[in-house]
């Protein structure tokens, strides 16, 4: 298939940036979206094109590491539900399509180059509470604390977050609520996470604000694009824990 690409090119964080057009011919529909970008880059390198290759992040290319992620035709990770950019194949597009490719945009995700953004603000949120405070060696036998299958499954649903940032890029407020709620829910649903349950949510919400993410207005754009199917229910859980943490009696 032949396609036209309109890609956001920006040399550095301070550069102005603009959309540039590239044509690709004879692209196999079995190719992944990132492989298509590889083909474009190969062409740009060999032809010594003045724009140079398009910088984009990717690593595992099997949808689990969370490194990749771009806006494709205005939608984070492209047209398919629950699919990361690396798992998207060209069969999702038609011959002669024009495809718009842009970086994940948010105040807290500054652009490094082209489609590569800085998502270290996510790490900073986790550093402020996204853990259970246990030191190595301080654990009891794994089966001494029972966890119901339902609890474990729900915790796992939330732990599946890959930290890609699609939720932030799709939110009109650039809120990191879904990301934060996934971690708060994962740990808050498990007995191991109970001792720090309310301080965790408080600290992580503060971190989210400090990192410049916006507030949540329950639009649900994040849920729609999450490649791992994290739902708004997690945000509701965060809100409940946040609120209850403020009003619960101290002697508890």
């Amino acid at each position: 298939m032949d396609i036209v690409l309109k890609i956001w090119r920006q040399k550095s964080a301070t550069d102005k940036g603009a959309m540039q057009e590239y044509q690709l011919k004879d692209i196999s529909s079995d190719m992944s979206f990132l492989e298509m970008l590889d083909v474009l880059n190969e062409k740009l390198i060999v032809e010594k094109h003045p724009d140079g290759p398009v910088a984009f992040d990717s690593d595992c290319r099997e949808g689990i590491c969370g490194t990749c992620g771009v806006m494709i035709n205005g939608r984070a990770h492209g047209p398919l539900d629950k699919t990361t950019t690396c798992q998207l194949h060209m069969r999702s597009f038609k011959d002669k399509d024009t495809i718009y490719v842009e970086p994940f945009r948010a105040k807290s995700f500054s652009i490094i180059r082209d489609l590569t953004v800085d998502r270290s603000s996510f790490d900073k949120i986790i550093q402020r509470g996204g853990y259970v405070s246990v030191t190595t060696g301080g654990a009891c036998d794994a089966n001494s604390v029972l966890v119901s299958k339902e609890q474990a499954d729900q915790a796992m649903d939330n732990a599946a977050c890959i930290g890609c940032g699609a939720c932030v890029a799709s939110c009109k407020n650039a809120s990191a609520m879904l990301f934060t709620a996934a971690k708060v829910s994962h740990l808050g649903l498990l007995p191991q996470g109970q001792p720090e349950r309310f301080s965790r949510v408080d600290n992580m919400v503060k971190a989210m604000v400090d990192e410049g993410f916006g507030g949540c207005t329950n639009e649900g754009e994040c849920e729609a694009v999450c490649p791992k199917g994290i739902t708004l229910g997690s945000i509701a859980r965060l809100n409940r824990d946040f609120l209850y943490g403020k009003i619960k009696p101290r002697e508890l």
Partner: protein
């Protein structure tokens, strides 16, 4: 004779007491002195993150670097199946000794008994630790942990979190690491790549890394260095590894004098989605657990291109069941992969290039119902359909073998220290516990055992017993290493040829897969040894690199990794050529039984081959560490 330079430092005594006794004998560092020691951890996967967080909790001053944009993204995250532990929660007769025995046997008797025993001993502690961190392992209805049988094990000792066990364990280690970063105990530097090891008086005292964002070479001094930089599967270009995985840290440390052990021991995983087209950038693994319910077959007739559903039972060859009636489709990875290659070589392979075999679930679907299969493997079936656009509920999956893991790595002693004092190597980056073949669900176990439970003690002992000179990053050793790093990158940028790094990477990978892949012979290996320098020469005269040296330049990162692969590939071939036997994943065509099974030679090759760097292009020097077996009797691995 065991070489004097290779002191494995295995403690005396009975195998079950070695580790405990050794721990007692290891010197400790007073808690109030720990903050005076700087430890550099390179890599933030299971081994790196667990080591960095554990060392920081103890009070050491830790810096950790990773090439990814976040420490949560290391490739340990992609492991699907599970992690072994000897909890015996299912009362099916598991024990430390049994896991030890299975692992030694599975590695085809090419690993150290003492190391493997310790690994089995620590396996239970890992599960306890991970559960305490909030890793959401699968549970049974009563609330206890669920287990499954995995990778041919005759019992259920594998703990798992859906098909995302690696992700959950890594996020556990990442959370522990993040906690220490938040507390200011670990300095975490992302988008940094190891460039060189700095030695002062023969002792590892520092690391140079390149900041991907600025192109600057940064200098870090340390009292001890842990490399936890994973495996080198992408030397084959196509593999199941992340596209960024590389050999650079291990290889450049090798060039500084660390020995590289068993570099030719690579694992080929039998159940990957076959290659399609010329522009594929990586191969995707389908969890081995699928083999529990699938039957693997090819048409009896070579060149049979019919739709698989049209090929009736009589015309199918269930070759694994036929050749290995007792293990059937569950034979270990190396055996399954090699047999798939054999039927493909006979012209009976399927798929667009005849390199795949069928993995068929129709019997299981008929027996258990579609719903049961969906519950067990739904996410894997979806993934398969996503990639291939074929529905595996209706038509058999096509699978083919792919490079998945590298058992070879830097040589380390029982304390996980290389032959360079102060340089520790953890996880897949070392050679230690898997011998010539790794069993399923063992990699995660090893990475975490090394990081949580071995490195903290071993490093403490080293720091407590070593006398340290004052080292500053302005010292000559750093300046010299920095100058040579600058020259290396300038030289790369200065080639100004016409071909991309990918072109050379692919060319090297194709050659290696062909000559040093699933089966090897002397002629092919010699051919590869003649061709690799040619590709290298072409690389250094015709590479085209865009952009500048002092900016974010992913192509330059890739080219610098390819430059190392182009040198490293030679020692893989030397190692494969030297090992005149077949064992585990290393199959030398000259050494097979009449039934085409691997023919091991315990009299002559029961050793770890540790290679010492010579000038580029010269054959490295071989040092042998003889393996002693006092516990297990070496038998031929029999899966019939």
């Amino acid at each position: 004779m065991t070489n004097k330079k290779l002191q494995s430092s295995i403690p005396e005594g009975k195998i079950e007491n070695k580790w405990d006794k050794h721990k007692f004998n290891l010197k400790l560092v007073n808690p109030s002195n720990r903050r005076k020691y700087d430890v550099m951890v390179v890599g933030s996967g299971l081994a790196g993150a667990s080591a960095a967080s554990s060392l920081a909790e103890m009070g050491y001053n830790v810096t950790c670097i990773c090439y990814q944009d976040s420490s949560r993204r290391a490739h340990s995250i992609a492991a699907q199946g599970g992690i072994n532990a000897t909890k015996n929660y299912h009362n099916d007769g598991d024990s430390i000794y049994r896991l030890f025995y299975d692992t030694i046997k599975g590695g085809d008797y090419r690993s150290r008994e003492a190391n493997v025993y310790r690994l089995a001993q620590l396996s239970g502690d890992i599960i306890d630790q991970c559960v305490a961190q909030g890793v959401p392992f699968a549970r049974d209805y009563g609330g206890t942990l669920a287990n499954r049988s995995f990778g041919g094990a005759q019992l259920s000792r594998t703990f798992y979190a859906r098909g995302q066990t690696g992700q959950q364990l890594l996020l556990g280690a990442y959370s522990a690491l993040s906690r220490q970063v938040g507390l200011g105990k670990v300095k975490m530097l992302t988008r940094r790549e190891f460039v060189d090891l700095v030695l002062v008086d023969g002792v590892a005292r520092g690391v140079l890394c390149r900041n991907h964002l600025t192109g600057k070479i940064e200098r870090h001094s340390a009292h001890a260095i842990c490399l936890a930089t994973g495996g080198y599967s992408p030397v084959f270009y196509l593999s199941t590894s992340a596209v960024g995985c590389n050999v650079t840290a291990a290889y450049r440390s090798y060039k500084r004098g660390a020995f590289f052990a068993n570099p030719s021991f690579t694992q080929i995983h039998p159940t990957c989605i076959p290659l399609s087209g010329n522009d594929q950038s990586k191969l995707t693994l389908m969890s081995e657990s699928l083999r529990n319910d699938a039957r693997v077959w090819v048409p009896k007739q070579a060149g049979d291109k019919r739709d698989p559903v049209e090929i009736v039972e009589d015309e199918r060859d269930y070759f694994l069941e036929r050749k290995y009636p007792s293990f059937g489709n569950l034979v270990p990875r190396d055996v399954a992969s090699r047999n798939a290659k054999m039927v493909c070589d006979e012209g009976r392979g399927v798929g667009e290039n005849g390199l795949a075999v069928y993995m068929d679930f129709s019997d299981a679907i008929n027996r258990l119902g579609r719903k049961a299969i969906e519950e067990r493997y739904g996410n894997l079936f979806d993934m398969y359909q996503h990639i291939t656009n074929e529905n595996p509920y209706q038509t058999p999956m096509k699978i083919s073998p792919a490079v998945h893991y590298t058992m070879g790595g830097l040589w380390v002693d029982y304390n996980l220290m290389s032959n360079i004092p102060g340089l520790f190597v953890l996880g897949e980056a070392n050679f230690s516990d898997h011998g010539a073949n790794r069993l399923g669900a063992s990699a995660l176990m090893q990475g975490l055992a090394d990081g949580y439970f071995i490195a903290p003690y071993a490093l403490g002992n080293y720091l407590a017993t070593q006398e340290f000179s004052q080292v500053s990053t302005e010292d000559e050793a750093f300046t010299k290493a920095n100058e040579s790093a600058d020259k290396f990158f300038e030289r790369l940028m200065g080639i100004k040829g016409n071909k991309s790094a990918k072109y050379f990477h692919k060319k090297l990978g194709t050659l290696l897969w062909d000559k040093c892949g699933m089966s090897r012979n002397a002629e092919g290996l010699r051919e590869a040894l003649a061709k690799i320098p040619e590709i290298r020469k072409e690389f250094w005269s015709d590479l085209s690199l865009p952009g500048d040296i002092d900016e974010f330049n992913p192509e330059l990162e890739h080219a610098s990794r390819v430059a190392d692969f182009l040198e490293f590939a030679e020692i893989m071939c030397h190692d494969a050529l030297n090992r005149e036997e077949s064992c585990g994943g290393h199959f030398r065509e000259e050494h097979q039984t009449e039934g085409a099974e691997a023919q091991r030679d315990d009299d002559n090759f029961s050793y770890v081959a540790a290679w010492q760097y010579q000038e580029l292009g010269e054959k490295p020097i071989l040092h042998k560490e003889e393996l002693e077996f006092t516990e297990v009797v070496r038998t031929r691995r029999q899966y019939k």
